[in-house]
Amino acid sequence: MTDTLLEICGLKLEGRFDEKWNPIINGVDLTLKKGEVLGLIGESGAGKSTLGLAAMGFCRDGVRISAGTVKFDGIDLLTASAAVKRGLLGKRIAYVAQSAAASFNPAHRIIDQHVEGPTQHGVMSRAESEADGMALYEKLRLPDPEQIGFRYPHQVSGGQLQRAMTAMAMACRPDLIIFDEPTTALDVTTQIEVLASIRDIVKDFNTAAIYITHDLAGVAQMADRIKVLLKGDEVETADTRTMLSHPTQEYTKSLWAVRSFERPLKSPVVAGAVPVVSVQNIDAAYGKAKVLHDVSFDMYEGRTVAVVGESGSGKSTVARCITGLLPPMTGQISFGGEVMPADYRKRTKDQLRQVQMIYQMADTALNPRMSIGEIIARPVQFYLGLTGKAKRARVDALLEQIELEPFEYYDRLPSELSGGQKQRIGIARALAAEPKFIICDEVTSALDQLVAEGILRLLAKLQDELKLSYMFITHDLATVRAIADEVVVMKDGRVVEAGPKKEMFTPPHHPYTDLLLSSVPEMDPDWLTNLLQERGVDNIGDAAVGKM
């Protein structure tokens, strides 16, 4: 008996869209030994989730397997009868989905869903399985493991649900678990505790796993081996440490290289300089819920201020206050030393022109029914009053500035552009107003890493050329490191810490900044182990946040 658990040969998958079958995966081979963890990396659209499901012999609607074999422990999953497959799924092969909140049935308690697998597959009795479930909850460091199972899914937080789902996958002690982006939907600080508990339990039970993700640093902590996918093709496969230290393929190298972009430090702000935008003692609320408490900071010409925080920290609300969409209750916004009206409807055309915005989702930021040319031309005409040839020349110049060929793109619709190109159009539209100040709201978080890097470089270049100041809202500290001059850390609607980037990345920190900084996974396979030792096992995540 060999110790090969899963063997996939020449697997081809096709998906149905545009009224025809299109290839998603073009012939991938994969072998997995017992107890081995394989990381499957790829950008969005690389077909990795589809591949993960196909490894279970499962296809979603509109997807089909056109060639290849999937053998699990000698059983061909593609030709096995439905009954045989049902006997394997849940019992010997388990699945952990990306969104635990959506993958738990809202009508049943967590424990009822947990015991369903073992009792239906005849592995354990209900009582045994319940007791085992509680033991697993404890092992996964869920709070109140005796009781948490008796709650309904909507009564439990996202990170806890993700761990409960891992426990559910473990319920029958399967030989193989497929993890489909289990930490993507979570906040940074939650992400790492889920990561840690998944890693431990997989190691403890010696379960083989396929770990699907686009997060390089995360997979470095989890996997023994890594396979990189690009547009349905395998790029390379290697042992994790080898892959990190000596990638052989150009594409893999470029993935790794992204992390190295960092702008040179600028000299400190000249004392007494007038800030371009100054946020002064702002309080703001949505209805009765107060979301900002006494927020103040300044932004200067030609510099970038990164506003960092997790979701719900109020960083986007600050942007809404500055643009005038949400007039603050108290406090004021001044622009070049002059106080601006709080409501955007009361601002002059020139004041509106000076503050521009680039959005996170380029898809919703561009009108799908307007051509690229029209989108960029509108502010040119609206603010600068250019028409006819002058307008066209200005739009062409802007397109060249964002490194897109004017003749090729002028008449296209946004839907005909890639994500990165759309984001560039968003930048061009902001530049068209010839502003002094641009708010960038998570502009890179919806993009793949290589593309995001291109956008960051472009923004940096434009800043140097046009003396722009940016307010850069982000939750990603790697981006902060790359582009910021000053950093503002926010939590629960308050500024926790603010200062030049150099200070922020050298201790001592505010405890929250510390937690944020240390939660960013690094490309070192030992990083998580070291971190956990440093913090002490109990001291991660919820516990650490709770102590502050």
């Binding site: 009224e19 009868s81 969409l325 601002r347 930021a365």
Partner: protein
């Protein structure tokens, strides 16, 4: 009672046959996956479909029988099957035509079209032509009482049955040509329904977008008002208002039809309002609208340049559905005798006037065709529009994935 028992026995036989069919399939194909994993319900469905098809074929043969008692009994099934085959072939030919004639875009559209949708497009085109050119096409006037012609509602114009070839669909009780009235019916019924839907869209659409863009109090007042209007079933409300309108119409000398258009348009605009508001709200939260607002754009630009172009697809589909609804409401009102008034020819009234002939179906099946022709004309158009709308919705939901 025996009818029920027969049905149960039939179902039991079909169930047995389904089991045998699956077994045989498994045995014959050496347990191929499609038979191995076939649920019993699917096998049952196949056998049931087969039984229905065989029965239809037998009925079709029976309808051609020389024994008039048997032939009469299956006459209507024969007509229905003939019609089905004829329309299927016509729709197929129409799609072939569309695939090879026209611009690049329409050709591509036709190629991706299912047969039901091309059937729908074909029928809508035919109705449109009939409605627009009714006075040219119709051999007689809609209220022209032909002197000296015996009333004979039997279609076919067979002199042996007292008909006249000059009136292929016969003449009604007071001597009007039924075919001409059917053709004018297209102009009156469809035209009035179309105008009503347009008006409903104008009212509901503009108020809906207004509510979505302005929000706040305007939205609250409009939405609550619409809630109240929608709490009364629309046909009932229409009948109530028509009662009142009939008095006004007599007093002011304005035709009742004008009131009907206004009343139905207002009632129906509530549904359009809901949709327009929902679509508008979905678009208003988009970042590009925020960007336009922050740029300082005015209301006019927002609605006509940013919102409307993005709302056309769902509104167009809704237009089809609302048209069907309005059309059916008007037909129902006319059928009840309070809708389109004589001397205008309209299908709902024609059904009501000739409904009694249904009872002669056993002896003179063709006589029963007359009321069904008018009712069928209504059904055919709404079915056609619904097929097209269904396809449009399917296409737009498919694009999202």
């Amino acid at each position: 009672m025996s009818f029920v028992i027969n049905t149960i026995i039939c179902l039991a036989v079909i169930a047995g046959a389904a089991w045998a069919f699956r077994r045989l399939g498994q045995y014959g194909t050496a347990n191929a996956p499609q038979y191995r994993d076939m649920p019993f319900g699917v096998a049952f469905g196949y056998v049931l479909a087969l039984v229905v098809l065989v029965w239809l074929a037998l009925a079709y043969v029976a309808s051609l029988s020389s024994d008039t008692a048997v032939a009469n009994k299956f006459f209507f099934l024969g007509v229905a099957i003939n019609g089905f085959i004829l329309f299927s072939i016509a729709a197929w030919l129409f799609r072939m035509f569309g695939c090879h004639v026209g611009t690049q875009r329409t050709r591509k559209l036709f190629r991706a079209m299912p047969l039901t949708a091309s059937f729908g497009v074909m029928i809508i085109l035919i109705y449109a032509i009939l409605a627009i050119f009714a006075p040219v096409i119709a051999p007689y006037g809609q209220d022209e009482i032909l002197q000296g012609v015996a009333a004979n509602i039997i279609p076919g114009g067979d002199p042996a049955l007292g008909g006249d070839p000059a009136f292929p669909l016969g003449t009604d009780q007071i001597g009007r040509d039924i075919m001409s009235r059917l053709i004018y019916g297209a102009q009156n019924t469809v035209g009035i329904a179309f105008a009503t839907t347009l008006l409903a869209f104008f009212i509901g659409g503009s108020l809906g977008f207004l509510a979505a863009v302005v929000g706040g109090w305007t939205d609250q007042v409009l939405s609550r008002g619409v809630d109240v209007l929608m709490a009364i079933p629309s046909l009932i409300f229409a009948l109530l208002l028509m009662t009142i309108a009939s008095v006004w119409s007599a007093r002011l000398g304005i035709p009742l039809t004008v009131f009907m258009v206004l009343i139905i348009a207002v009632i129906d605009s509530t549904r359009v309002f809901r949709l327009a508001r929902a679509v508008g709200q979905n678009i208003v939260v988009m970042d590009y609208i925020e960007a336009a607002k922050l740029r300082g754009e005015g209301m006019w630009y927002l609605v006509f340049r940013e919102i409307l172009p993005n709302a056309t697809a769902p509104l167009l589909a809704e237009f089809g559905l609302r048209f069907c609804f309005v059309f059916l409401t008007i037909a129902a009102l006319s059928f009840l005798g309070v809708g389109i008034q004589p001397p205008l020819a309209d299908w709902g009234t024609m059904v009501r006037d000739s409904a009694a002939f249904i009872n002669y179906a056993q002896f003179a099946p063709k006589a029963a065709l007359t009321p069904l022709l008018a009712a069928g004309a209504i059904a055919l158009l709404t079915v056609a529009v619904n097929f097209v709308v269904d396809w449009m919705l399917h296409r737009s939901s498919g694009l999202k994935e």
